[in-house]
Symmetry: C2
Subunit: 343 residues, 2 copies
DNA sequence: AAATAGCACTCAAAGCTCTAGAGTGCTAAT
DNA sequence: ATTAGCACTCTAGAGCTTTGAGTGCTATTT
């Protein structure tokens, strides 16, 4: 869907989009000439605006109001008009400072990153932690908690720790648990978690193990531990978008908040954003989350030393400050990648 | 502040409070007689209402509107009027089912409990996990992640796992790490986490250890692990209170949401609710969180097998369905205690 | 022919007035 | 002590008008 526009039309469209982003009010023809010091008269602008409307780039809420950009206009703006603001020294500093204060472990760091994205952009920050499943196995360990309760602890190369309480069919001594641990650590060394899953499946079918009751127990326990699917996702700064005039209405807000409460669904939806490299921009109905709520999503991937991939970005209204948010997301993704790959 | 009221005044006050809870509209004198089939006339009710207003139990937004209960009235209602609805079989079932599906570990179970509280009450559910600090030490373990990076994993008796990435001054072999782990496990056996903290402090001052570089390293690492303060708190169903007519205003909402984003502050504030046993009710400005937002808080403690204490409850508008929420909170707290103490 | 000035027209938002009716407080009657 | 009756109060909402921002068309300029 290529849009061909004259130089002049582009200037005017840009002016309208930017005005609307700044004010959230329909933009009139004279507002364009006034605020952007263009050389043509408002009458000319009106002609152009009528054109743009016909092309589906603008709409007007009613005859005597100004015009509002459509999704198509935002798309065009983002693709070919926007002049990216370069990120300020101050902002860089803040991102670095807040992302570095890694706290205790990956998950805290990513949460803080999400907060930072939110506070710099004034929209919602979002971070999807790298998938545990595709991370590399590091260590498994069983700790006896009750007579027949064992806590399985699984550590990946990133330093992500998952734990699961397992009910066992009989009681195990600490020594037995250590033994089982050693066996499994050997078995899964160097595999990714998902490969480890398969390996365990295979071993369970192995006849040798089926008759060794302890080994089969060990495999069963580790299977439970390895199938945990708690992939983390951090959405921060939800309160901030209540500021946006388009979300004054309580009903719409509820929609949005509900969508963000079910984090597991969210994860599914966001998976598609992780395929491409670089900054991805989803406008309005293109957004995988809540297509009808007038939201836009700007994301970028980041990578870790164990080659797993995470996602970070900003969610805001379609009428979003693209020119400043895009560089922030871009810079943050690069920085986080850099931190996480520096072993 | 005891309030003495005649039988009749009490009846009328109860009717007004309940009407207002149901409708969120100011209650007029005739509404009281109509909806509650009382024997006196509206004129009588008017006299009584004037009294109640003078006593600070009612206010009217303006002359020709009905009356609204004050905080004081809710307090009195909760203390001496409310007829608690007994919890239905259906609700019990749901609570049991959802709390039991303990998922993998305490933290998931508590999150689901919070969700359950929210969906049954239609307000926000809140659960504060038992303080890690007062739980009993179970196990510590060090896992080598990079050349000078070690992951310390700390498990408490109720199965809570905390982990922290520690930078070490030199590289350690896996054997050394195991050795250090054994030493520390012995040292802290049977202590609570906070006692363990003190023990480590003490050992660090012990001259014997100061000259054994490995022991002093071990102590340092464990000290870092033991001082983690990530107490969990689950607030679920925030979207639900957008339904309440009193929160239609975006400004108020923002206040509230912001308050709940800073979970660490929240924890501090909620500590005071954990001192007393049984169901605690905080109305309006009594609520430790966001005193001015017209919220009420209903909480109850729960206990675990290792004698640590957690808190669960419901947060909603002052105009809350106390008669049904109180039994829900009470029942849930008892149930969770039962589950967590059944080893 | 392209750009612009001018002008009549449109329409929502804001202000204004009026009315209906819900609710009160007082007084007189029971 | 209670209640019926009534005058009074005050808001929410309906209907109306005004205002002014903004448009589209046309005639005029370049």
């Amino acid at each position: 869907m290529e849009v061909e526009l004259s130089q002049r039309s582009r200037q005017i469209l840009e002016a309208i989009v930017e005005d609307y982003i700044a004010t959230a009010e329909p933009v009139g023809s004279s507002a364009v000439t006034r605020r952007h010091a263009l050389t043509f008269s408002s009458a000319t602008v009106r002609n152009v605006m009528a054109n743009l409307e016909e092309m589906g780039l603008l709409t007007s809420p009613h005859t005597s109001a100004g015009r509002i950009p459509t999704e198509k206009a935002y798309r065009f703006y983002v693709d070919s008009l926007v002049a990216l603001r370069s990120i300020s020294r101050e902002e860089k500093k803040q991102i670095i400072r807040r992302c570095r204060q890694a706290g205790s472990g990956l998950s805290d760091m990513l949460k803080e990153t999400s907060r930072t994205l939110s506070s710099l952009s004034n929209y919602m920050g979002i971070v999807v932690a790298p998938s545990f499943t595709s991370d590399v196995f590091r260590h498994i360990e069983f700790i006896r908690l009750g007579t027949r309760k064992v806590l399985a602890i699984l550590v990946s190369r990133n330093g992500t720790v998952q734990n699961k309480l397992v009910e066992t069919v009989r009681e195990f001594t600490p020594d037995e648990l250590i033994h089982m641990g050693n066996y499994l650590n050997d078995l899964m060394q160097g595999l990714t978690i998902s490969q480890a899953r398969e390996r365990i499946q295979a071993e369970m079918k192995n006849e040798k193990n089926q008759f060794d009751s302890m080994m089969s127990q060990a495999l069963q326990m580790s299977q439970q531990a390895v199938t945990m699917e708690r992939d983390d996702i951090f959405v921060e700064g939800q309160a901030r978008i209540l500021n946006q005039p388009e979300f004054n209405d309580a009903r719409r807000m509820q929609d949005i908040f509900q969508a963000f409460e079910q984090k597991s669904d969210l994860l599914q939806l966001l998976n598609c954003c992780m395929t491409a490299e670089g900054v991805q921009i989803y406008i309005g109905s293109e957004t995988p989350v809540n297509r009808s709520a007038g939201l836009s999503l700007i994301t970028s991937r980041f990578v870790t030393s164990s080659n797993t991939v995470g996602l970070l970005g900003v969610i805001g209204p379609t009428r979003m400050g693209y020119s400043s948010v895009i560089p922030i997301v871009d810079y943050t993704a690069r920085l986080v990648s850099r931190i996480l790959t520096a072993t």
